[in-house]
Symmetry: C2
Subunit: 272 residues, 2 copies
């Protein structure tokens, strides 16, 4: 099964384009969990149990785990083990390096952890990305336009009259020989998102920036989806994980996720 087939399948089954970012911060989880042997894993397991029938993907930003040192990598393994096999998993590390180094990042994320997808930084070019593109079952989401303020420093610079991010998108098409490339497109620039989708009608889009980063949800759905209203992964983290800081956090997370999923579906019905 290709990555896109897996994505379409779970989006249909759970009627959801929602991805929950498991960017779990020990400072923000309920205090009662801190007595557990592995609070981060325990928190993630409860979030997954409470939301697995209403999401299409879980994304783990690796920064949140690496900073925990040796325990962090254990938490990634334990978290992934609890995610049902038909749900897409994304290892969000934004890596990029020369050949023999990036080979190792790709091995770790795609072979050892077995994430379905990784996020990758394009600045170092083709040979820094290609180790993530070896298997048609696994996708590399390549940073194109990011959701942060600094995106404008380089991504929007004009190259022969066109913004750099369009050059990146053009290269992504060239690298897409196994049909396993994806696009990271921040939701904080709706006009840009519209343009990216026009240029890449069939690629999966990973859309961060909803929630704490104040990306626009309606335009994320309208412009981020393909023409069937699919192949968009709309990621939210803090507004779901920390919907409550009390013992009832799984219920609160489910309620927040359900509201977000249904709002996304409302816009899908409106535009597709």
């Amino acid at each position: 099964m290709t990555f896109n087939e897996k994505l379409r399948s779970i989006q249909l089954k759970n009627n959801s384009l929602l991805c929950i970012g498991l960017d779990t911060d020990i400072q923000l989880i309920p205090k009662s969990l801190l007595r557990r042997a592995d609070p981060i894993t325990e928190f993630n397991h409860r979030i997954i149990e409470a939301t697995q029938d209403i999401v299409c993907a879980y994304k783990l930003n690796l920064a949140f785990y690496e900073v925990l040192g040796e325990r962090g990598w254990h938490a990634v393994h334990q978290t992934l083990a609890r995610i049902p096999k038909n749900i897409v998993t994304i290892g969000d590390g934004k890596r990029g390096d020369i050949g023999n180094s990036v080979e190792r990042y790709a091995k770790l994320i795609l072979e050892d952890y077995k994430f379905d997808a990784a996020t990758v930084n394009p600045y170092m070019g083709e040979d820094s990305v290609s180790p993530f593109l070896k298997r048609k079952e696994q996708c590399a989401f390549i940073l194109t336009v990011t959701s942060n303020k600094g995106a404008k420093d380089f991504q929007f610079l004009k190259v022969n009259g066109k913004p750099l991010y369009e050059k990146v998108l053009k290269k992504i098409h060239q690298w897409n020989t196994k049909k396993n490339c994806g696009v990271v497109a921040g939701t904080t620039h709706p006009g840009v998102l519209k343009r990216l989708r026009e240029l890449a009608p069939t690629l999966p889009f990973l859309l961060p920036g909803i929630g704490a980063q104040q990306g626009d949800l309606e335009s994320a759905v309208r412009y981020g989806c393909d023409m069937r209203g699919e192949l968009a992964i709309i990621s939210s983290s803090r507004s779901i994980l920390y919907a409550s800081h009390d013992e009832n956090f799984p219920d609160a997370a489910r309620a927040a996720a359900l509201t977000l999923r249904d709002t996304i579906n409302h816009y899908r019905e409106k535009y597709f």
Copy 2:
């Protein structure tokens, strides 16, 4: 002491611009070490013992440690513990992410591990780099021109008539308010290196690509150094670490490192 002061001090003391990349691969170290509890750490300790008086820096590419899983982070700690305090340490992770994520990468590399410097990817702009620039004692080496083939995919694109890497260098100057920015400049493009040094006469340059990547050493020294023949860190890994695959590897590594240091110094005398 600022980062640049520490760098100049050790370069003077050890009369060396050489940095050894401790990109240690368990497949390539002597088989006899595999019986040890922690072969990677053991190998690194012996390399450090054999070379610490003839280098200015050690660079650890984090990909090589991450791929080892939980053991890898332990090996980073154990390796750093053996490096004398007056030698510069570089955590080569090429990270870049949005604010709350990149804060964690910076915490891990600069606070927890206490590397003197980190390598950083500029594609996501200022707020993706700034968490690495908080302390004048610690440097962020920002990818400008890399030594790999893919460098040409984006770094050399013309923006208003000038290559993108010059735009990156211009931003680095803006970000350099604490005088703790550095430049990663591959040695595989001598003409570009000359131009970068003209544009950034006082920044420290990290120069990868010598050895296995076939960068040109003479031009790396000639164009990579500042006007005093300093502030260049010339990094080599495989040609030193694996100079021998036998038990005598520390001696062989020392001999290879000494030859490289002395060749660098020969070119310094020639041009400065």
